[in-house]
Structure formats: C-alpha cells, structure tokens
Amino acid sequence: MKRFAALFSALDQTTKTNAKVAALAEYFREAPEPDRLWTIALLSGRRPKRTVTSTLLRTWAAERAGIPLWLFEEAYPIVGDLAETIALILPDPSRQSDRSLADWIGVVRGLGKAEEAERKAAVLDAWDQLDRTERFVFNKLITGGFRMGVSQKLMTRALSQATGIDEPDLAHRLMGDWSPESTSFRALILEHDPAADLSKPYPFYLAYQLDDPPESLGAPADWAAERKWDGIRGQLVLRGGAHHLWSRGEELMTDRFPEFARLIDFVPPGTVIDGEVLAFQNDRPMAFAALQKRIGRKTVPKKLLTEAPVLLMAYDLLEWEGQDIRALPFAERRAILDDLIAPLPTEAPLRASPLLQFDTWEDLAAERAKSREMDAEGVMLKRRDSPYRDGRRKGDWWKWKVDPLVIDAVLIYAQQGHGRRANLFTDFTFAVRDGDALVPFTKAYSGLTDEEFRRITAWVRRNTTERFGPVRSVTPQHVFEIAFEGIQESPRHKSGVALRFPRMSRWRHDKPVEEANTLDDLKDMLAAYGGATP
C-alpha cells in the first residue's frame, strides 16, 4: 500500500502530464503484478464491490475521532469527499503496515461476508495502521469512485512505456468485461488473445469541438457530415450469436435496451457498430428526457418500451465478418454499413445516420442552422479517408455544435461548492423578471473563471440578505448570460421550464437588473425551441 500511496501522492502533487506518466510508468515497471493489475482496474473505473455502507463508515469514524456524528456530517460536505474527511478526522495511527495494495483489496472484499462487529473491528484496525494518504486510499477502495487525476489515456501511455506494447493495441486490450479477479496482468496485457472475449468492445473514437471556422479543415470534398444526435453513444457488438451494447464509459447497457436483441436476426455475427442510442418515435428523435427515463432502469417495464422505444442511429462500422476494419478509410467503412442497413425492414431498431449533402462550407453551415428543428445538437464532420482511431484525438473527427441559446438572468441565490470548490460560492440560482417579481428558473454551476468565482464569492459574502441553511439569498444586482442547449416544459419547476446544460456564459457587468430577460421571453423560447414533449 505504501508504494501505491506514494504513487497517488506523486500523481496528486503535479499538474504536469509528463511527470504523471513517468510516475505511473515507473510503478508499472516495479510494483508486484497483482498490484499493477488492480491499479489498471482502479484507473479504468473497475473497483471492488462495496462492502461497507457509507453510513457505517461515518459512524465509526466519528466515534473513533471522538466527535458527535452531526459534526462529522457538517465537515463532510465542506471537504467534499467522504474518504478524505475520514482520513483527516481520525487520530494518528499507532503502528505501520507494509501489506500490498492487492492484499488490502483482499481485506476490503472479505468484509462483505463478515458480521457488522467483525467488519467494524477490521476497518478500525486498518485505520490504526495506515497513515493519512494510505487511509485515504483505503477508504476510497471501500467507497469507490477512485479519481487520481489520471485519464485512461494517460494510464495507457504509461503502460505502453512500461511494456513496450503500442498504445492503441493496449487500449483495446483494456476494454470490456474483465476484472482483476477474472484475469491476470499476464493474460490481460502481455499475452492477450482477442478471441477469448466475445463481448470485448473497441476503444471509442471521440471528437473534438470545432472552434475554428470549417474553412480551416480544407476542401469540403474531403469531409463527410451528419447530424450530431443528442442521445447516448453506444457500441453494439454482435458475435457468436450474442449481442452486447456498451456505453462510452464502458458500461454494459444490454439489459436496459432489450430492443436490440432482435438485431441478431437481421445482422450477421462478427459485426460491431458504433452509433447513438436514441428514443425514437414517429420518424424522429424524442426529447432527451424520454431517453433519460430508460437510462435509469436496469429492467424496463412494457409500458416504457412503448412510450420511449429506442433505436441505434448507426454511424460507423468497426468489425465486419469477424474482421477488425478500423484501419479502412471512413468512406469505405460507411459504404459497407449502408449496404448492411439498407435492406433491413423499417421496424428493425437500426438506422444509418443520414449523410448530409454539401458542396461548400456555406451549404454545411446552412444545414447546421437547421439542427434544432432536426432535433440535433449540430453537425459532425468526419474525414473521408481517415481510420477509426481510439480516444479523443484531434484531426479526423470534429463536432460542430449549434450556438447555444442564451438568456440574461438575475443572480438571486448562492451556495458554496464542494471539494475542489470548497470555500467558494459556485452554485447559483437565477431568475427572470415577471413584472416586479423575480421568478427562479435555473441553477448553474460552471462557466466562470476561477478569478470570477473569487470575485462573486467576495460579493456574496457582503451582500447576503437571508440564509436558508447553506443557501444564501443575495441582493438582486448581478446579471449573467445563461447559455443552454435546450428548453423543455416542466411542471416540476416554478417557472414551468427546464433547461438542458445551463451554464454561465458571461457576467453581464454592463446590464442592470431592469434589463434582464423576462418570464415572457422565456416562454417565447419554450414555444420556439421546446420541440416534441417527452
């Protein structure tokens, strides 16, 4: 654990990518193999099953620290992290331990079967022999959600340096349905057999936002374009008579979307399709809220299947006839995809995302301007001769989103942030004017610079008019431009609307409260862009 805790500190103590990769690579060269495998698992979101509830951990920690539980509960949101709060609050350990990471994970996993008294004794015993950083790591192993400031991409790079295996190849080996219990470092990384796992997905290729004008991309003829759909990215793997649907976060979504089981009858085995899962009805995508109802459920009641049926809007083909075809140019992959989908009956939950026709960038800009009416977020640009790459890489895929909708709103409530934003006011509620009244309609947490957050924090401290627990109401004085991607009717909100992805796009120092937008303006936007109701 000492070595892993030292790695954690090294990663935590630098903001420089090269230093992080070097620290990780060294770890991957030197740590025992089971520890390496667990580290890879933790950094790719595979964590041991939770064996102790957070309620019990809090109670035990407060008791061990000699403070009342309420005081612990007050400190926790300020620190913003349960594992860290516990690590900070406990008294110093009385002894040391040199057990390995894999060993401690064994302890954590063993807790699942133990009686509560036994579990408590084991946790208190662990806390008493780990220093602050080790304790933090240990608590994280129990509570899950390990974030070490290292993306999977960086981890893959470090692992590549340590093993000499190419990054894209490694990225593929690390995909899919494995856990340190089901494999070994040797089997997964060093002696990888692609045929061993029928469900294994390919690494997703992710697009960058296009900030420069499209002219910067060169000749329009080199590019294909399609709508940017507002659903969830999915990779459908059809092999050996079974199907698996993976999310971008490498979660299996197969059971949530039973519709896709039918595709086994239409699509030959040895096919892997990349696309967007959309709730789809009457020949058009439904609002995202409809899909949201499906995401939250592990099993789907019949009623929901008819209310919010889904399909896969396919845009790429990664495997065909059992062959990995990612190296083929996009245009060729896309042609095979179109041939595959064209003969399917319309009720098959699979469509090809239509390619947009354009000869000039002006043509495409005109298509992009139609995005909202087409229920899309913008357009996607893909270079015709490009391979299907892995991870987020610049150059071949771009997302060119429509400009967000904006409205000028008045800041009325403020609340302190957590974790990274502790002791700053970062969570705000905004209102539009309605006669002399101010009607709250959205919250927003992001979009300001650190410097702006500092300034508004100082202002909130001086201009608090009332406190409701952690929420402060402030003098209505500051106007912010709120940008958002969509607007929907919502009976749950006082204003009657709900926004999608609201954020503060500008602090309108130039605007007095009297010039902020009104509830009528908001209703006009709802009428214009509210689209299909969920």
């Binding site: 103590q13 630098t14 903001t15 400190a75 502790a422 002791n423 100082a458």
Partner: protein
C-alpha cells in the same frame, strides 16, 4: 529586546482569580439585571462604550485598538491608533502617516476608564489579543491567533477572562496541523529536489507573517532565497525590529531566473500564475496555507505542491485556547461560525456568533500590500 525573550505575563495581570468553568453553566432561572455589556457589536466593529474605543474596526472611527497589521484588521482612516510596540512598525509601513500610540505586551493602560492590555496571539510578529477590563469584568478579543510556537513571533499566551471573542477560521475537526518541523522538512525536501532538477522553487505565502515564518524555518544553507517586493518590504521592517530572518534577495525588474539557479522564491499567493513569475522560466510552484489540508482546494489552486502551514489555530488549538481562558461566554467570528458555535454550546459554553468583516486566512483575497 529580541522578541523571543518576552515573557509570558498574561496570567499575572489578571487581577481577580476567576472561577474556572468546570461544569456546564446552568441556565439562569431568573434573568439578572443586565448592565450594558463591556463590548458590543456594531456595524463599524467591536465597540467598548465605557472607554469609547473600537477594536479592529472596519469603518473609520475616532479611536482604534489594533490587534495586528493584516489589512482586514488594520484599516486606514481612523483618527487615533493603539497597537503593540512590535506591531506598530508594520502598521505604519502599510498605512503611512497615522497617529499611532504603542504599548508593550502585558502593560495595562487606562483608556477612558477601562483597563486595556495587549497579549501575544502567536499569529504574526507583533500580533496581540486585546484584554479589556472594567469593574472586575474581563473580555478578551483574540484577533487572529495560533497556539503552536513558530520560533519567530511572540508565542500565544492564554489570558483568563469572562468573555472571549475568538476567531474560528479553521473551526472544523478536519483541520489538524502537523508540527512545524515536519512541514519545514517537506518544504526543504521540495526545494532540494527542484534544485537537483535545475528548477527554481516558487512558494506562495502571505507577505506579512507566513512568508517570514517560512524564511525563518528553512535550512539556511540550502541555497539563495529571493523575495517578491511585497514580502521584502515587510522583511526590512521586521529585520530593523530585530526579528531574526535569513538573508534574502529582492526581486526587481532586472532579476533573471538564470542568475539564481536552484533558488527559492517567496511571493504573495497572487503572484503565482501572474506575468511576474515568467522571469523565472520553468518553476515548481507551491502554496503554504491551512487550506492546503483539503485536496480539493489544493487541486483548484493548481500548484505543484500544497504545504499545510497556517498562522491560525487548528481544531485542537482553538478548543485548547478557549478552555484555557476559563471563559463561560464565547463569541465566535470569521470561519465556520455556525458549526463551531454549536459544538461549543454542546461543550457547555454560552456561545454566540459575531459577524465581522474580518476574513481570516483566505487564499482568494488579494494582499493589499501589493497594490
């Protein structure tokens, strides 16, 4: 007189022995006739009506007693100031031409019929708690304080009283400082590693107090130390008073990083990430602050390192200091006041909250001395 030789004289000055609070005070069954409290809380600051003076007021007043020279406590615009002999030079340096009277630690002075004395707060060189007494009733205003001796400022001295107005910047049990020697060793190690890698080390620390404390704790043999002008201005004042500080080199517009390989640069937190630091090329950056205890804050500041070093009392320090006053009535100000008040009330104190304009240790405030 070198500051470290000052003796702990606070207890002796407390005239009448106060009854120690041993058990929770019972709620008084019948309200006693209440005289005006010795100190009251106004929108200008803490006010003593009997003596007609304010303590660390935030708006201009006729007579101000000042605990220490930080900008939120020593403000411009008062007609007359009173501060310790040790604090006055910095206050003069920061506020310019002011009418300031000084007092040694521990000496009792009559201000408008009220007995007033200043006692070390251990926060920054010259900082004081202010004790106020009339007709046997004793109040103490803590100002900012820390209980761990740092080898530079006059060590904190508990002062017994009936009512104690205490800061609680770090009034949460997650704030538990490690001993200063451990933190100093961490800073030295960081500096040494950077030097070995051919990098300059840039440490963000308050220009009054933290900066000098860091300077005084570092290994003087480790290499050249450069200081931002705001830090060096304070250094000059404190050196003239006899506070022991190692030699430092002031950064000027002509200073070039390559002329000082492996140096440590001490600058106010706001200088980190500014154009000012470009002259040093590739640097390793760090902050020294109590807020560095929280990983989230550390990450937000995006420095390479965060050293948990504060000039305010930690959780145990606050609780010990409050217990040592023997006071029954505690007022808490700047910090996690609501939570800390509730905790004190559970411990049996008659505890309240005072809203003040004092800021405690804020990583996000601009150090006014830089302006």
């Amino acid at each position: 007189m070198p500051p470290l030789e000052r003796r702990d004289r606070g207890h002796r000055l407390c005239p009448a022995p106060l009854s120690l609070r041993l058990v929770a005070p019972a709620r008084r069954a019948t309200p006693q006739p209440m005289a005006d409290p010795l100190l009251s809380f106004t929108d200008r600051g803490i006010y003593c009506a009997a003596g007609d003076f304010y303590i660390d007021p935030w708006r201009p007043v006729d007579r101000a007693l000042i605990t220490h020279g930080h900008a939120d406590h020593a403000r411009p615009g008062h007609r007359r100031y009173l501060a310790t002999e040790a604090a006055a030079p910095v206050i003069r340096h920061r506020l310019g031409e002011i009418d300031i009277d000084t007092i040694p630690y521990g000496e009792v002075r009559d201000v408008g019929g009220v007995r007033v004395s200043f006692h070390p707060a251990g926060h920054v060189p010259g900082s004081a708690q202010i004790r106020v007494e009339k007709a046997g009733e004793v109040w103490v205003v803590s100002g900012d304080y820390k209980t761990e001796p740092d080898g530079l400022c006059e060590p904190f001295e508990p002062v017994r009283c009936h009512a104690f107005i205490s800061e609680c910047t770090f009034g949460l049990p997650v704030f538990q400082w490690r001993p200063q020697v451990e933190i100093a060793a961490q800073i030295d190690d960081w500096w040494r590693a950077n030097r070995a890698a051919g990098r300059i080390s840039l440490l963000g620390a308050y220009s009054l107090g933290k900066a000098q404390r860091v300077l005084a704790t570092l290994d003087p043999e480790a290499g050249p130390i450069l200081t931002h002008g705001a830090v060096e201005n304070v250094n000059e004042v404190l050196r003239a008073q006899g506070y022991p500080l190692p030699p430092t080199i002031r950064v000027t517009p002509d200073t070039k990083g390559r002329d000082h390989p492996g140096a440590l640069v001490v600058a106010p937190p706001s200088a980190l990430g500014s154009t000012w630091m470009r002259r040093f090329g590739t640097v390793s950056t760090a902050f020294a602050s109590g807020w560095m205890q929280m990983r989230g804050v550390r990450r937000r500041r995006a420095a390479d390192r965060g050293f948990v070093m504060s000039d305010h009392a930690d959780w145990d320090g606050l609780n010990a200091a409050i217990a040592d006053t023997g006071a029954e009535r505690i007022f808490v100000t700047h910090g996690y006041t609501a939570i800390f008040r509730r905790w004190l009330a559970e411990q049996g104190y008659d505890a309240g909250i005072v809203e003040t304009a004092w800021e405690g240790e804020s990583l996000d405030q601009t150090d006014e001395a830089e302006a």
